[in-house]
Symmetry: C2
DNA sequence: CCCTTAAGATACCGTGAGTATCTTATTGAT
DNA sequence: ATCAATAAGATACTCACGGTATCTTAAGGG
């Protein structure tokens, strides 16, 4: 199995290979069939090596997701609240689809008796986007005069994110049409705004 | 274990006892530690009896939830769109809390490779409430003149339910405060309505 | 009263998480 | 260059649990 890799990897190099193996295995067999043995096999190593680094499967999963979904740096100004909100939602979609419904549900569920790590996963996937909604999207909208600061409430901040992720959790998908509908039918109206003319709003 | 029950139960009586055992076991040990052996033990029976009735654990879980959460018959008229929407959300909360976050996530996740039964679970928990939102809540609001029929769109129909259940999925709870916030800050404004004066809207 | 049905007990298989143990390659220090 | 400490990799194990096969025996209907 390692005849062509006589070099025995260590430290970071090995860790990288393991993360990659988890990721590939996830894409190939999916979360329900993901096993530590499968990961070890694909990484060209063995189970004890995995358990020396991560205490259990869940930890390894979360670490892998962190590794492949680094934090976002900045969000370009889209010129309008609508454009900025859609941009954030598209980032969310990209990340959710990258990780996959089964994986997210699986990790959340595996946390039922031990929620440690949940926060980490959710923050990697969604929470930090709330920061963007507040710091970038809403702040700019206030500066533009689209909304007033009093409208920047917690519930409205996360409304588009919440609607998007529940749709993804249930259906496993998040089409562009849904994103626009969320913004134009729910988000903007809830802020007392109307989407620009010519924007189709599904009914 | 069955020394005090010399009678060997059959048919419906046995089935009832099994459902009850699943329910109790769920409350006591929680979904992650729920095992078929544990269920059988608590029901005073054995695994083969379970497998003669349900092909696998997931089926038994879904059947149990159906058994304890029968469909709703009617929703009394609360006098306003706001009151009716809150009523539906409170039903949703009751059911979600009854079943529990871990159980719902667990079943959804167990479906990742075989989604059969998902629909059943989701319909027992949420989907049929959409019917109520449409047939009762919105219809009455239209009759009262609070909204116009054109506002009865799919996305807005489920908006309160979606916001409520994502909050529950993530936090495992759904306080009354959240329900009111969902209705007053998101739902009614999205419909172009304002909550009545004196209604606190969290910020 | 007997015969069919199915409950309940028990033992089993397969799989996968997690661990213990041992050998050996790698690396850094001398 | 050599050697000791470290950790990789292989292997074999335990344990828990889902699911099945087999057998005995109680229930209940005719």
């Amino acid at each position: 199995m390692t005849a062509d890799t006589p070099t025995r990897r260590r430290g970071k190099a090995l860790e990288q290979a393991i993360y990659q193996a988890v990721w590939d295995e996830l894409q190939e067999v999916g979360f329900p069939k993901l096993t530590m043995e499968g990961i070890a096999r694909r990484a060209g190593t063995s189970k004890p090596v995995l358990y020396r680094r991560w205490p259990n499967r869940k930890s390894l999963m979360i670490a892998t997701i962190h590794h492949f979904l680094p934090g976002l740096r900045s969000l370009p100004d889209g010129g309008s609240l609508r454009a900025d909100a859609l941009a954030v939602l598209r980032i969310l979609r990209e990340r959710l689809l990258d990780v996959g419904r089964a994986t997210i549900l699986g990790i959340l569920m595996e946390s039922a008796d031990d929620p440690r790590g949940d926060d980490e996963l959710l923050s990697a996937l969604v929470d930090y986007l709330k920061e963007f909604m507040e710091k970038s999207v809403f702040l700019r909208a206030v500066e533009r005069g689209e909304i007033v600061p009093e409208q920047v409430t917690g519930r409205l901040l996360t409304l588009p994110l919440d609607l998007a992720r529940i749709e993804f959790f249930i259906t496993g998908d998040l089409p562009e049409r849904s994103l626009e509908e969320i913004v134009d039918v729910a988000f903007l109206p809830a802020l007392g705004l109307r989407p620009p003319h010519g924007t189709r709003t599904a009914g």
